[in-house]
Every structure is written in structure tokens, then in C-alpha cells.
């Protein structure tokens, strides 16, 4: 049986000693936003907790929200507890001027390539990563392609207007 979101949230509040930055539950998926320095100790505690056992990291990916002043870049982590079938999503946001997040490779080896991919796409620096370099794009690329300021279509073309597709 999955643990209730309230129970996990209570544990998180106790662990970080206060309220997280924000909490939401889109489609019953507990989503907690944290400060970057709270991340590693909390994940370690969730992983080694005797009941919760969040021992599997499902996913790690980056976000870019230019409208959020001072918190433009984000990293999303999803963890899964197979023993109880509970899922949890953690988010951290950092300013685009100094995008440094602690590396999750301390807890999960699977984070290695996922963090390299996030660095490749968004330029988020993972502090403590053993081999942080580009993975899917060429090494001498000098920009981070998934940031919103890099448009996909050729802007000179007048026959295809991006605003028709909502952005």
C-alpha cells in the first residue's frame, strides 16, 4: 500500500526542520520544492528510511522557466519506493547566473548520465559529479540548447510563425 502524501510530507518537514519552499500534488503526485542544500541529506534519509525505502531513482531532468526571476533553472528528481509503490518528486531551482546543484551521484549511480544530459541541455553544474561533460551533443558546443532563449525555427522565415503554436 502506498504511503499517504501527508505522511511523507511530515517526514520531509521533520527532516529539513521547517517548511519546504513549496508543496503541490498534481495528479496525486507529491511534489516538493527544496533549497539545493537540503536535497542530498533528505534524499539520503528517504533512501535509508526503514519503511519508505525510496531506493530507486526513476528520473532526473532539467527545467528552464525564464519568468521565474532568480530561480530560472530547475532540476526535477523522481523517486520510487518499490516496497510500498510510493512515488515522490523533488524539485530544486537555481538562478541562471550561478546554476550549481549538488550531484545526486552520491546516492545513485544512475544519476551520472542523467546529470550529464541535464548539463548538456541546460548548463546546470552538478557539484561533485565525477565526469561532468556533454553527453549527447558535441563537446565544443558553446550554448545550452534546451534553454528557452534558443528558438527552434529560423526566425527569418515569415511563412511559419511560432505564435501559431502557442509560443
Amino acid at each position: 500500500m502506498p504511503f499517504s502524501n501527508e505522511k511523507i510530507l511530515q517526514f520531509i518537514q521533520e527532516n529539513i526542520g521547517g517548511e519546504p519552499v513549496s508543496v503541490s500534488e498534481p495528479f496525486d503526485f507529491l511534489t516538493v520544492e527544496l533549497n539545493p542544500d537540503q536535497l542530498l541529506p533528505l534524499v539520503g534519509a528517504l533512501k535509508s528510511h526503514p519503511q519508505f525505502q525510496f531506493t530507486f531513482m526513476t528520473d532526473l531532468c532539467g527545467l528552464h522557466i525564464p519568468e521565474q526571476e532568480g530561480k530560472e533553472l530547475g532540476v526535477v528528481y523522481m523517486f520510487h519506493s518499490w516496497s510500498s509503490n510510493t512515488k515522490i518528486r523533488l524539485k530544486v531551482f537555481v538562478p541562471v547566473a550561478n546554476p550549481v546543484v549538488p550531484s545526486m551521484t552520491a546516492h545513485f549511480n544512475s544519476a551520472n548520465w542523467m546529470e550529464r544530459e541535464t548539463y548538456d541541455f541546460y548548463g546546470i553544474i552538478f557539484d561533485g559529479h565525477p565526469n561532468l561533460k556533454r553527453i549527447l551533443n558535441v563537446d565544443d558546443m558553446d550554448y545550452f540548447p534546451l534553454r528557452k532563449e534558443y528558438p527552434l525555427e529560423d526566425q527569418i522565415r515569415q511563412d511559419k510563425v511560432d505564435s501559431m503554436f502557442g509560443r
Binding site: 498534481p26 495528479f27 503526485f29 511534489t31 531506493t55 530507486f56 531513482m57 526513476t58 528520473d59 531532468c61 527545467l63 528552464h64 522557466i65 526535477v76 523522481m78 518499490w82 509503490n85 512515488k87 518528486r89 545513485f108 549511480n109 544512475s110 551520472n112 548520465w113 542523467m114 544530459e117 541541455f121 553527453i135 549527447l136 551533443n137 558535441v138 540548447p145 534546451l146 534558443y150 527552434l152 525555427e153 511560432d162 501559431m164 503554436f165 502557442g166 509560443r167
Partner: protein, 410 residues
């Protein structure tokens, strides 16, 4: 023998201390990116001591197509063809996973009949995917016959796809809200024929391999993956189950009416190449069971949800009815705004948990779409597993992991 000191060495600092004095006897072998034994664009630069692999570095990204960026500029229905090209050995699973993600965001309930048709398509895709993986494993170990046997059957699966959706490899099957057309009589006839004719052929395939002494000697205790390592490196799917962990998305978080069907989840014991092979074989039998049940209990009713904003109207109506014409135009031009939301949906893909993480900011295209590609995550364990292995064994391990280049590089 080349002197490694004479050119920049990618292995500087990672050669084990006890091998340091022999460093000039080591060979650097460039396995890939277009090596015939790797079945895809994978490059591994291996440091070899004779036939033995000392260490390795994987390079990926040779067919990176920036799907996540492209998806941010497309209406939802135009993203389905992108998902085709992830794991192109089992495209229908990718398509259905994407449709279900969007349906979850929109709050659309799909009728039972459409869900059952989806289950049939997904399980056919799983059979095709596992057939390719297992028969190629045979080819890599020197047994070509089984490959030719089962590829005829895979062709029949593709014929059924063709009846369901009109295309074979990159299927673009189904729509947001259901299927694009009902399961035709011809498709049902072909399915029944397949269910009758496939098992004997597959039994023959198993007879060629399962207790074959030469094959067993090649694969047993090769590429052993422990439970702990599998979890740590994010393995999912048949590879994880071969290591002995019974995690299957179809059972743990059922989607598309999987809870209606009776099937077993095979798990392995040692996590070696033989276990991965056997788990896939058994999953093919279980998929056949699911298809049989879905076909026997196929409910009557509509094959798509009543979601006019997202599901294209009948072509005849477009010509005769005003509303249908408006919806048709709006859908095709991508002029429908999606609700704001954040949704993660996972399906059991051919080689693991295939997840879609979709963030919508109320626009017509996703604000962010991330594909959780199972083989991107577990392929990073490959060089770790290949350490200390013979080169010929490492090739077998790569085949048995079912890494698909399209999914790896997205």
C-alpha cells in the same frame, strides 16, 4: 603494439594500479560506432589486455535528434511520430504511452474497447521487441537459424500493425482519446492466425536455444548483474527482472485495463545473460496469453473517447457538419490550448519503464516534455559490467541488454 604514451590517452588515471607497469602492453580498441556486432550506433573505446577488457568509455549521441526541444514547438498530436522513433522496435508502446500521458493531463476517459485494442497492440509490440533481442543474441553467439525463423513471425506482427493503423515500423498508432479506427475484421483474422501459428514456431526457437549446450556455455554466468547494482544503475524491464526484482509497471501501476488480465511476471535468479534471455522468452508467452484474453473478451462499444477538442472527427462529418469542420481545422492547426498541469505517466516498454514527464503551461505545445528512456539510464552500467570480461562475451552482454540506439540518443 602501440605505445600509448605517444598520443593523448583517454584512460589517463583510470588504469588500475596493478596494470600500470604493463601499460604499454595494453591495446586501445575502438568498438563502434558502426561495428557490425553492436546493432546500432554505439561507440565503446575499450582498453584491452589481450582479449580481456580492462576498462571502457562509452560515447553516445551519434543519432541525437533533440526530440525534447522539437516537442516544445509542436501540438500534442504531432509529438506521436517523435515517440515512434525512440524505441523503434516497439513503436506502438511508445505511441500509447504518449497518448495516455496526454489523456491523463486532459482528464479524458478512454472506453474499454479502445483500451483493449491498445493492450493488443502493445503486447504485439512487446513480442516483436523481445523476438529481435533474443534472436540477435543468437546471431551474436553464432546461431543464425533461430533469427531467420522468428523474423518471419515478426513480419506477421508488422502485417497486423498495418491492418490496425496503416504503417509498419514507425506506426504513429492510435490518437489522443482512443484509436483512429476500429479493429477491422481482417485484423482480427490475422491476429487469430498469428496466435495459432506463432506458438509452434516459437517452441522450435526455444528448442534451438534453451537447453542447447553450446549456447548455455556461452551465456551462463556471463554479464552477471546483481540486484543491488541493477537498482543503483536504474535498470528496469526484463533486465531488472532477470536480476530477481519483480518490478513491472503493468502490475504495480496498471494502465489501459491491464488489471483485467491474468498473466505472470517471470523473474530470473542470477541476472546473467541466460536469465535475461529466458525472461524475455517467457514474457513472450505471457504476452500471447494477454492478447488471447483481450481478443476473447473484447468489449463492444466505441473505440474512442468523446473528446471533440482533441479527437479528429469523421472525415464525412467534416464535409457535411459545421462543428466537425471547425474542430477538424482547430485540431490540425494545433489551435487547442491544453490545460495547465504537470503529469508523469509510465508504461512498461520493450526494455523497461518508459516514462513521459509533461509540463503544460496552458499553451498549445508542451512547456517541457522529458522522455524517461530506460536504455539511456541503464546503458551507463555497460562499461562497468564489461570490466574483466572477454570481448566476445561483452558483445553478448550488449545484445542481451536490448539497448536501442534511437531510444538511447533520443
Amino acid at each position: 603494439m602501440q605505445n600509448l604514451a605517444s598520443f593523448p590517452n583517454p584512460f589517463n588515471g583510470i588504469i588500475p594500479a596493478e596494470k600500470e607497469e604493463f601499460v604499454n602492453d595494453l591495446t586501445t580498441l575502438n568498438l563502434g560506432p558502426t561495428h557490425p556486432a553492436t546493432h546500432g550506433v554505439f561507440q565503446n573505446i575499450l582498453q584491452m589486455d589481450g582479449e580481456k577488457i580492462i576498462s571502457g568509455v562509452s560515447t553516445i549521441g551519434y543519432i541525437h535528434r533533440a526530440f525534447e526541444k522539437i516537442a516544445e514547438h509542436r501540438p500534442f498530436y504531432q509529438i506521436t511520430p517523435l515517440t515512434d522513433r525512440l524505441n523503434y522496435c516497439s513503436s506502438p508502446i511508445n505511441n500509447m504511452g504518449w497518448h495516455m500521458t496526454v489523456e491523463k493531463l486532459l482528464g479524458v476517459t478512454v472506453p474499454k474497447r479502445a483500451e483493449y485494442i491498445r493492450v493488443i497492440a502493445m503486447e504485439l509490440a512487446r513480442i516483436a521487441d523481445h523476438l529481435i533481442c533474443n534472436s540477435i543474441l543468437g546471431v551474436d553467439s553464432g546461431a543464425f537459424t533461430g533469427f531467420l525463423y522468428v523474423f518471419q513471425e515478426r513480419e506477421k506482427i508488422y502485417d497486423i500493425y498495418e491492418e490496425i493503423c496503416g504503417s509498419r515500423l514507425t506506426t504513429n498508432m492510435g490518437r489522443v482519446g482512443g484509436m483512429e479506427r476500429d479493429l477491422s475484421d481482417v485484423a482480427i483474422v490475422k491476429l487469430k492466425k498469428f496466435l495459432k501459428e506463432f506458438p509452434p514456431v516459437f517452441k522450435e526457437f526455444e528448442a534451438l536455444f534453451n537447453r542447447n549446450r553450446i549456447f548455455m556455455d556461452r551465456v551462463i554466468d556471463v554479464g552477471v548483474l546483481s540486484k543491488e547494482m541493477a537498482m543503483d544503475y536504474g535498470f528496469t524491464g526484463p533486465n531488472l527482472r532477470a536480476a530477481g526484482i519483480d518490478y513491472d509497471v503493468r502490475v504495480m501501476n496498471p494502465y489501459s485495463s491491464y488489471e483485467d488480465f491474468q498473466f505472470d511476471i517471470p523473474i530470473g535468479e542470477n541476472g546473467d545473460t541466460y536469465d535475461r534471455f529466458m525472461v524475455r522468452n517467457e514474457e513472450i508467452w505471457q504476452s500471447l496469453r494477454i492478447i488471447q484474453q483481450a481478443l476473447d473478451n473484447l468489449p463492444e462499444g466505441p473505440y474512442h473517447a468523446d473528446a471533440p477538442h482533441y479527437y479528429l472527427p469523421e472525415k464525412q462529418d467534416v464535409y457535411t457538419k459545421m462543428e466537425a469542420l471547425i474542430y477538424h481545422f482547430k485540431i490540425v492547426m494545433g489551435e487547442i490550448d491544453a490545460p495547465v498541469g504537470e503529469v508523469y505517466h509510465a508504461v512498461e516498454g520493450g526494455n523497461g519503464e518508459l516514462g513521459y514527464y509533461l509540463i503544460s503551461d496552458g499553451g498549445r505545445a508542451p512547456a517541457r516534455l522529458h522522455f524517461r528512456r530506460p536504455c539511456f539510464i541503464f546503458y551507463q552500467a555497460y562499461t562497468e559490467m564489461a570490466k574483466g570480461m572477454l570481448l566476445s562475451d561483452a558483445i553478448l552482454v550488449l545484445s542481451s541488454m536490448n539497448v536501442i540506439a534511437g531510444e538511447l540518443d533520443a
